[in-house]
């Protein structure tokens, strides 16, 4: 466990993480109801990473994200209704139904691109850092990607350029493939010959840190130092935020194997049970932060449940908005090819 988070910040991060969790549970439900077509990627189990890092970025900063973007855009403040409508391909969606689940993107909130090409986002994020430096406003470019992105060659080119030109880039490798976050453990050896993803960044002289991505406080502490380093012109930093994969993400298509998250597992009113009890007990970032805060006393426990009720209400409203929104008119398919 790392340095304690300021209380206000911890509560606001929990609120964002609950919003993401309830959003993702709704996405899964809507997919199973065939309300949208195509594959999708849920952020369940990684909420601590996105919420902590977004809490550290300010309005001037730039962000590049991936196919697993829902949590990032919600953590940054995108309206859940617009995000859900985009996933459902509606005219009112964040991107007018052109992008869908894999490409939720709001440049007004600093997102430069949401690329579904796994290594692609890393290289675009380096471009974000190039722009930040040229603009000279002390901004950083934060780029979120999975462990799989480091399997693609462009990632190496991008890391090398960022280091060579000392660009203000925060590389956030969300390694959700690990069985454990102890060094050297749990790597997907079928695809990575390396047993230490940080070593790839270190090979081009980038400072690295490996942390428990389900520990929002630890992510916050590490990213705070890293972002300060970037802003000071000391070059990029690579953070590997390791999470034990949410079991519902193990099948080819997400499955609701842990059901709807019951926050009474955070307040102590309920004990995690069943096949996935260990994940719920030790690896669920929402329950971990919830437990930490609920542990402050009965009022705090009640506040956790109240925040959850608020998150559920917002997501219910978002789903209602999205389902009630019209599909785009076919003739608008020809809009936006060129600016």
């Amino acid at each position: 466990m790392s340095q304690p988070l300021p209380d206000d910040l911890a509560w606001s991060m929990l609120a964002r993480m609950l919003l993401i969790r309830r959003f993702e549970e709704a996405v899964l439900r809507l997919s199973n109801e065939k309300q949208f077509v195509g594959h999708y990627h849920l952020y369940i189990g990684q909420e601590g990473t996105g919420a902590a890092i977004m809490a550290l970025l300010d309005a001037r900063d730039r962000i590049a994200t991936t196919h697993r973007n829902h949590g990032h855009v919600l953590a940054r403040g995108v309206d859940p209704g617009a995000a859900m409508a985009e996933i459902l391909g509606r005219a009112t969606g964040l991107n007018g139904g052109r992008g869908g689940t894999i490409h939720l993107c709001d440049p007004a909130l600093g997102f430069i691109s949401t690329s579904g090409i796994v290594g692609g986002c890393i290289s675009l994020g380096v471009g974000g850092g190039y722009a930040c430096r040229q603009l000279g406003n002390g901004a950083v470019s934060a780029v979120f990607f999975g462990d799989g992105a480091l399997e693609e060659g462009v990632s190496f080119e991008a890391l090398n350029i960022a280091s060579l030109w000392r660009l203000p880039v925060l590389f956030v490798c969300e390694n959700n493939s690990a069985g454990s976050w102890a060094p050297g453990e749990g790597y997907p050896t079928l695809v990575h010959a390396s047993s230490d993803l940080c070593s790839i960044a270190r090979s081009v002289n980038i400072a690295t840190e490996r942390i428990d991505g389900a520990d929002a406080a630890a992510v916050h502490a590490a990213a705070s130092d890293a972002i300060a380093r970037c802003r000071a012109g000391q070059g990029p930093v690579f953070i590997e935020a390791v999470t034990k994969r949410w079991p519902g993400n193990n099948p080819l298509w997400p499955e609701p194997v842990t059901g709807t998250t019951d926050l009474r597992m955070a307040t102590g009113e309920m004990t995690p049970a069943g096949e996935h009890a260990d994940w719920l007990e030790r690896h669920d970032p929402v329950l971990r932060l919830g437990r930490m805060l609920a542990g402050q006393g009965a009022d705090a426990a009640a506040r956790v449940l109240k925040l959850d009720a608020e998150a559920r209400a917002r997501i219910d409203a978002a789903v209602t908005f999205a389902l009630g929104s019209p599909l785009p008119a076919a003739e608008t398919a020809f809009d936006h090819v060129f600016a």
Binding site: G97, G99, G128, V154, F338
Partner: protein, 325 residues
């Protein structure tokens, strides 16, 4: 009018674009390759030291740096080098830059400019003689210029920097030393406007890039036999100036399309299809395409010449369509 080489005009355009807008920068400064004109870039490197960088040998990384930077609010120019190197950055060009604006519902803009040296340059063999612009035309969202003259490369590069879209400037390696007239007061040239480089009533030759010069040479030779060929320079292939092509064919009734991309699914095919669809009744004879042969480019000079369009092949195609009734 003053005369300038293509290379001098390209360098002027980069210099003036850097001077006009502090958001402009160059990622890659060897836009003229390694030939004798390369020192023309020295003054750009000298006067804009903080905005000219040369990347490592990392085409995808360099392209993506430019694309991401454009998405984040600055105005990069990325030199991709020889026309075959963009393939290393294909995902970045066709699947990030080209689609960014559309996929975001019009919220993101990607004002990046790429430059490459295409074409059969002499001894380039199969891997350094590519013309990837036809493939790029298959990526909706890119604006692609194929200038042939000093005036056009200057005006089109200035327009590229003013565009909110990803743009590609395709220069033929053999164009760099070719001189042509330029106006004293040079202006941007809008994309999507072809230009009639030589008027004529008997046959239309549609060409682009270096092939404009070969077509003009063919037209001069044909004129000695009393054949008046009109040479239409596309100047940009995305957008394609369909109107100018059809207007010329309406005047002449015959069409030869010249392009250095390989035959299949090339720019010549696109022009021919456009005229067939929208101007079939204007044609007095079948359309002829003069393109690079559908084979990889060989190294040895006679083999290279055998697969590459030239003025003689263009003139022969013109005589063929004129012989058809």
């Amino acid at each position: 009018m003053p005369v300038q080489s293509y290379a001098e005009a390209l360098v002027d355009a980069l210099y003036d674009s850097l001077a006009a807008d502090p958001r402009v920068s160059l990622i890659g400064s060897y836009v003229l390759g390694l030939g004798p004109q390369r020192q023309l870039m020295d003054r750009v490197r000298r006067d804009f030291r903080d905005r000219v960088v040369d990347p490592p040998t990392a085409e995808a990384g360099a392209a993506a740096t430019g694309i991401g930077a454009a998405m984040a609010g600055v105005r990069p120019f990325v030199d991709l080098g020889t026309g075959s190197f963009p393939y290393l950055a294909w995902s970045q060009i066709v699947n990030e830059a080209a689609v960014g604006h559309y996929m975001s519902g019009g919220k993101i803009t990607v004002p990046v400019t790429f430059h490459l040296l295409h074409g059969v340059r002499g001894g380039g063999a199969s891997q350094h003689s590519h013309s990837p612009q036809a493939m790029m035309c298959n990526a909706p969202g890119l604006e692609i210029a194929v200038p042939a003259t000093a005036a056009d490369v200057y005006g089109l590069v200035r327009s590229a920097f003013a565009s909110a879209n990803p743009t590609v400037i395709v220069s033929h390696a053999k164009l760099l030393g070719i001189e042509s007239e330029v106006a004293v007061d040079r202006q941007p040239i809008p994309f999507g406007r072809a230009e009639v480089k030589r008027g004529g009533r008997d046959v239309t030759i549609v060409a682009n890039s270096l092939m404009v010069h070969y077509s003009l040479a063919a037209a001069a030779e044909l004129a000695r036999d009393g054949i008046a060929a009109e040479v239409v320079d596309l100047r940009t292939v995305a957008p394609l100036d369909e109107r100018a092509i059809l207007d010329s064919v309406a005047r002449t009734g015959r069409l030869v399309v010249v392009d250095e991309c390989p035959l299949r699914c090339g720019i010549a095919s696109e022009v021919a299809a456009t005229v067939t669809e929208h101007g079939f009744e204007l044609l007095k004879a079948p359309i002829q395409r003069v393109t690079r042969a559908q084979v990889p480019v060989p190294y040895s000079p006679p083999l290279e010449a055998a697969v590459t369009p030239d003025a003689a092949k263009i003139a022969a195609a013109v005589r063929y369509v004129l012989a058809r009734r």
